[in-house]
Symmetry: C2
Subunit: 226 residues, 2 copies
């Protein structure tokens, strides 16, 4: 469902070129549960932005569900992003003057779901993440870990077939982090493909495959928790 | 150097009162290295904001270096914040359209340090955090962990006597996180007081005292890594 061939991504130009990704080849099948690990700055979030159709590679081809992303126009890319993919961002990106409930309901409203049904589904997802009692609060009224859980709820509420999670437990204590991992594991068992970036080795162990990045390159790709 | 007596902090009013902190008594002596742990939403960042003079309690007294913060006017509070305290924020709060170097130099400029000297000290601190090669880049051009390291550099560049670190390794891989903890341990050995919030038990073990929060209350306070 995800395929990258000879993918590179560089930033900057002339004197200061940064090779965020450098010749990456990668295949992820439907239903896999993959952890991406590596040092700070090694290219993990950059890779995930390419998979999530939020950025385009400088070189190489990225395919999602067999479709070469460079062949899709913006309308089709947006459709893919909104209907097939749930993205949990490293820095959350919650709408600031908006309640937790509205933040989570937003992707459903974009799909044309009626407001009443969207809010019902949003509340149910917030409940799964222990956040239903704070549904009427905005991001500035929530702790770091509470904001993270709202971001997770928003990514999952549309029941995507591909979940991209960038450090989904970074701001959570171990008990709350385990609840999130239990939820992701449950979704994976239902057939949903999960690609997860983490610095936490206990989290990485719960995936079935581990890809290690270093300086924009894949240095190891092992199946079975190690 | 930090003293809290019967401190409470509530948000909201009428129907939805949130007791972020509820009757907290705490004494931290000069030179201590304290870890604050607890579930997401238990009041850790709220407590740190009160210690860091960024917020006032709803009840009780907060004293820094023997001074009751409620007795200080805004000018004296700002002076305390800028000269004695280094704050590493959970969400970094870097200036957006500003380079890493300028972000780190800013607290020195506020103290009246000349621009040339401020930049020299800023670059040296960025170097300690492995970020000197990215000094001319702004936050949007940096990875999550790189932004975190710039935020750490900024908090340390003024050589504060009290460091308040809210999840300082949250976005870092374990090797980079260890470098940051080595640096904090070194500063503590020089006599600097460190109060650190973390969800990472390996990080908490490096402190000499652990305070656990739950629902805004201190439920345990143990000396010696456990
Ligand atoms: N401005 C605010 N308005 C309403 N509630 C708030 C506000 N700021 C914090 N809170 C609430 O106070 C409680 C404690 O928040 P705090 O940020 O201190 O938690 P924390 O322990 O740092 O959590 P985390 O580990 O998730 O960062 C939480 O329930 C939070 O939602
Ligand atoms: N817009 C940009 N301009 C310049 N460099 C960039 C930009 N975005 C990312 N980079 C650089 O690309 C490299 C990879 O960044 P990326 O965010 O993918 O790292 P990461 O592995 O997610 O790191 P972390 O674990 O710290 O989040 C880093 O050196 C980063 O500074
Ligand atoms: Mg990242
Ligand atoms: Mg917090």
């Amino acid at each position: 469902v995800v395929e990258m061939s000879k993918v590179s991504k560089t930033f900057g130009d002339g004197t200061s070129i940064i090779r965020a990704l450098d010749g990456v080849d990668l295949k992820i099948e439907k239903g896999e549960f993959v952890a991406i690990v590596g040092p700070s700055g090694s290219g993990k979030s950059t890779m995930m932005n390419l998979i999530g159709c939020l950025d385009r590679p400088s070189n190489g081809v990225v395919k999602i569900a067999g479709e070469d992303l460079s062949m899709l126009n913006d309308k089709k890319l947006t459709e893919l992003r909104n209907y097939a993919i749930g993205f949990i961002f490293q820095s959350f990106f919650l709408l600031p003057k908006t309640t937790a409930l509205e933040n989570v309901a937003t992707p459903l409203l974009y799909r044309g779901v009626h407001s009443k049904e969207a809010k019902k589904k949003a509340l149910s997802m917030l409940k799964k993440l222990g956040m239903s009692d704070r549904a009427t609060h905005g991001p500035t009224e929530l702790s770091g870990g509470q904001q993270q859980r709202v971001a997770i709820a928003r990514a999952l509420v549309t029941e995507p077939s591909l979940i991209l999670a960038d450090e989904p437990t970074g701001a959570l204590d171990s008990a709350t982090g385990k609840q999130v991992m239990d939820l992701l594991t449950e979704l994976n068992q239902e057939g949903i493909t999960i690609v997860l970036i983490t610095h936490d080795l206990d989290v990485a162990k719960r995936a079935k495959r581990r890809i290690s990045l270093k300086d924009g390159k894949i240095i190891s790709d092992t199946k079975g928790a190690a």
